[in-house]
Symmetry: C2
Subunit: 253 residues, 2 copies
Amino acid sequence: MEIENTFKQWKKQCLNKMDLSKKGSVDEDIAHIVRALNDAENYFTTSSCSGRIILIDGISDCQDVQKQNCSWLFVTHQQCQKTDVVSGLERSCGDAVFKFEPFVLHVQCRRLEDAQLLHNVAINSGFRNSGITVGKKGKIIMAVRSTHCLEVPLSHKGQVLVSEDYIEFLVEVANQKMVENLRRIERFYECLQSSLQAEDPQCKNTDVTEEKSVYRRRRKKMLGSPADSCQDNKDPTTSEEDDGLDYGVNLFT
Amino acid sequence: MEIENTFKQWKKQCLNKMDLSKKGSVDEDIAHIVRALNDAENYFTTSSCSGRIILIDGISDCQDVQKQNCSWLFVTHQQCQKTDVVSGLERSCGDAVFKFEPFVLHVQCRRLEDAQLLHNVAINSGFRNSGITVGKKGKIIMAVRSTHCLEVPLSHKGQVLVSEDYIEFLVEVANQKMVENLRRIERFYECLQSSLQAEDPQCKNTDVTEEKSVYRRRRKKMLGSPADSCQDNKDPTTSEEDDGLDYGVNLFT
């Protein structure tokens, strides 16, 4: 009962804050996901971003990547155009970096099995770097994450190092990633709805022809190139993905 | 007892396989970490990569990013040189992409508290995207992950889109990331040793002056730019990082 009340208190506190900062605080493309989770008994969201394309200016020759003060030259949660980047770069004084960052979501869960269910949804939707955190006070967070990204240095000490043709190509690549990102967000929402409604407890890839289930086939990771010496000795009969992520496991039976 | 025996069996099976593929299967820069974990009672590694700089050739205009067949033009687990990239690009027929990928490690853990301890080590070492997976058979995996990366398209349909000066700059940036990556690997190892020896159960950032502890101060995430509308309403008194990751929590007290 104690954890129950604690979770309820945490949720109430967090959602009250959200009411105060509601104006434009949740990205439009994921508002439905955030709403579905906050309406559900066993979850609430703590941070989110639908995905974005950004141009940031870092300090040149600063070795300490943690302390870099970056200024934001451009940001969008939709697609961008070449002119956005070109005009952003005109304002660059340091090392400008162009980035695509996908959907990110942090959800606090009531119980570990709730986190596992959500983890299942995330992995099946293509967010393959998702993971669970368990804290000292029993706080359980499921983080939706993906490797789907771009990170491209474009200037050094304010001097642009690439052509406008390259920028045009880069923008096209980033926009394609944004399209794919939105597709995965929709998939996440559908899978989430199914799981929450418990009509299809194990959200399977029933109607996704272009994407194989990570649970039904062992996906060859790019770690396994012939030229590569990285260790990879997962048991092929119970691959990490196949075995890992169905919800509802009880660790203590 | 059942989980105990199962874990022992899993470990034995996995390490036996590793003996067979020992030649060059574990990257040199993390051999000490892999050894320390496999020697410890409550852990064994299932996959690892010390980090790498790669040039891969993808199929042009292929929208389905999951099914892309990529050929490997170049790969190294150390630093690279401009000539590596230039000669790799000469062999590109499609869309070549230059990538830096940091240290990745998957560790199977005996119990959830073991995973939490290791998660603590990973976060404190700078691997901030680390997370836990809990599987249906009680299999617990802790994945060490980082956002520290580069992903740079360099050619389209075999045509190189950037100058050699740009490639030289890019190589420098990638090599700096590799240096930072190795520094974090060493930090991980030190922190791991402390934690395993239980001399310093909560591995604190005692001698890292250039990096603030993620647990002692709430680190401002880059999600919170003035121009950005991403939701971020974590409770400032118990931030996700501060509260999240000390080992030893018992979820069921």
